[in-house]
């Protein structure tokens, strides 16, 4: 097995902010006492005048960002995913989504691989909470390269957006050239296959690619989709996968309720497409503290369990 290059997507975010700050003089960044973790500190050092430390007061931060946006600024707002969504849901609903404000919420520490801080800090409902809001775009980039590209796209495109990455370093999946045509709202066929499609987002994309190699050795051809945009979801691509492979696994570091798996299930139901489906995710429970790898095994969200589910799905 070749050694993987690990890069933290949070660093890619910080780096992209600096590039964007140079390009867009109206780009501003807000953080709530977590700038060292979210990496907005990189922007703060470069452009101290356009960085606003808001203290431990997330609700206030969101509404302030909406005010900044109403004056033509492009605010990027960052904190952990729990505090960036659940803690401030009404502020996002009124001042960002309902108002169609050009606010970009970029959250870190999404999912259970946050690890030892425990369930209080493991956000597994954010994609659902943001997806249910009209006007909101919801994104979960899968590696550092894609994160950088997505952050650029978020700045160029007008409208309310939410993006989340995990806490941990992540294996690099893409080279910049692989992403020349990346678009918000368009899923990517990373590897083709005909027996089933594995549609995932964020931290789960890389394990699905690993799982594909294992499956290949066992004669199962899996198509790998990186569905970085959960809303608006690439309906055409989901339908294509359903029709061409007849079996879909979705995988996300998120509750099986309301996120990517739910979005795919809704399409299959709405379009009356008969297709086998397994939704991998957190099964409607709060998890616990622990080492990330231990938790991903215990809650059945790793390569091993993708392979297991794929075999189950194809055999049936």
């Amino acid at each position: 097995m070749s050694k993987k290059t690990m890069v933290n997507p949070r660093n890619a975010y910080g780096k992209a902010l600096i590039e964007l700050g140079k390009k867009h003089k109206n780009l501003v960044v807000l953080d709530a006492d977590l700038s060292k973790s979210t990496k907005t500190i990189m922007f703060a050092k470069e452009y101290p005048n356009r960085f606003f430390e808001m203290g431990i007061a997330e609700a206030n931060m969101i509404s302030t960002a909406a005010g900044l946006a109403s004056c033509g600024k492009i605010p990027f707002v960052s904190t952990f995913a729990v505090f960036a969504t659940g803690r401030v849901y009404d502020q996002i609903r009124m001042d960002v989504a309902y108002s169609k404000a050009n606010v970009k919420i970029f959250a870190t520490h999404g999912g259970i691989s946050v690890g030892k801080d425990g369930a209080s800090h493991q956000m597994i409902e954010d994609l659902a909470l943001m997806r249910v809001l009209p006007n909101m775009t919801v994104i979960a980039p899968s590696d550092a390269t894609q994160t950088g590209q997505i952050v650029h796209l978020m700045a160029e495109k007008v409208g309310p957006m939410y993006a989340r990455v995990g806490r941990a370093d992540a294996p690099l999946i893409y080279h910049k050239d692989d992403l020349k045509d990346i678009k918000i709202g368009e899923g990517m066929i990373v590897k083709d296959g005909s027996d089933l499609s594995i549609i995932s987002c964020g931290t789960m994309v890389e394990p699905t690619i690993e799982a594909r190699s294992t499956l290949k050795k066992q004669g199962i051809k899996a198509r790998i989709i990186d569905m970085h945009t959960i809303k608006p979801i690439d309906k055409k691509l989901v339908m294509k996968c359903a029709k061409e492979t007849g079996a879909i696994i979705t995988a996300e570091e998120h509750s099986i309720i309301g996120g990517l798996g739910a979005a795919v299930a809704e399409i299959l139901a709405d379009e009356n497409i008969s297709c086998k489906l397994i939704r991998m995710g957190i099964k409607d429970i709060f998890c616990e503290s622990g080492d990330p790898a231990t938790l991903l095994e215990k809650y059945e969200l790793n390569e091993k369990h993708i392979v297991k589910n794929a075999k189950k799905l194809v055999k049936n």
Partner: protein
């Protein structure tokens, strides 16, 4: 007002050192967690559990117990080791902090650990929860007292001030809140991150009885707790002037030890310093 003799104070100081040693060992083993804010909070929580609160570790659900709510949930190691040393669960459990399938979660959870009253970790909730417990106490004519500890950075949360208004409006004199005034949060000094200025004047202006003391002086803590408990018709706030990382020289006032555990060398050094202090206190006993 009660007078505390030297021996009582000395014993509590010794307990506080023991708790600090637990904190260092726990975080070293877990390879994650929050040393700074755990160490600064120790003395007040020790005074509460070992001298002030009416509580029975064998009956953690006693309806008449005094309650302590750790709003700054990241200081869980301080609370856990004090609960263990009080007898709520075996001290050996402390070794498993933050491991899967363990009762000691990274941040407190009310149903996972005996003695933990409220699930915290998202800052800013604890005082509201304490208000609820205090209102129930008034409704039920119970004599219990409710304690709540917050961080100074934590009081940036608007919810804290909503709770401050409610406690004052309902004259919740069965609440004593405390602020661990260590002047540090994560991004730096509280006055640089989001200026607090006079914490004392803020709480006074919200209708609270405010007391400001040295948060590492056990005698001052006990005296302030007595004054607060006796104060009628107003909730009381004790501002604990503290040092983040207190008791470990290289962690003191060092923002880098907010959320980073000690490595092996740092752990050895910390334990050495604390053991020296322990010996000194034992000799004086």
């Amino acid at each position: 007002m009660k007078n505390y003799d030297e021996k009582t104070i000395n014993e509590l100081e010794l307990t506080a050192v023991k708790i600090r040693k637990h904190i260092i060992e726990m975080l070293y083993r877990a390879k994650s967690g929050h040393p700074g804010g755990s160490l600064s909070a120790v003395d007040a929580i020790v005074a509460l559990y070992f001298a002030k609160m009416k509580h029975n570790p064998k009956k953690p659900d006693d309806p008449n117990r005094d309650r302590f709510i750790l709003s700054k949930g990241h200081a869980a190691p301080a609370l856990y080791s004090i609960l263990a040393e009080s007898g709520y669960f075996p001290v050996d459990e402390l070794k498993k902090l933050r491991e899967a399938d363990c009762m000691l979660q990274g941040h407190p959870v009310c149903y996972c650990t005996p003695g933990v009253e409220a699930s915290t970790g998202s800052l800013g909730h604890g005082l509201s929860f304490a208000n609820g417990v205090a209102l129930a106490g008034k409704l039920d004519n119970k004599k219990y007292h409710v304690y709540c500890m917050m961080g100074d950075g934590e009081t940036g949360e608007g919810q804290v001030w909503e709770a401050a208004a409610v406690a004052s409006h309902y004259k919740l004199d069965n609440i004593t809140a405390m602020i661990d005034r260590n002047f540090l949060q994560i991004d730096g000094n509280t006055e640089d991150v989001l200026r607090l200025e006079s914490v004392y004047r803020r709480w006074r202006s919200f209708g609270w009885h405010a007391i400001e003391i040295n948060g590492h002086d056990i005698k001052q803590i006990l005296t302030a707790l007595d004054e607060a408990a006796d104060h009628k018709n107003q909730p009381s706030m004790i501002i604990l002037n503290t040092v983040k990382g207190k008791g470990v020289s290289f962690m003191e006032n060092n923002v880098d030890f907010h959320g980073v555990p000690p490595n092996e060398m740092e752990r050895n050094l910390a334990i050495k310093e604390l053991t020296l202090l322990e010996k000194k206190l034992e000799a004086a006993l």
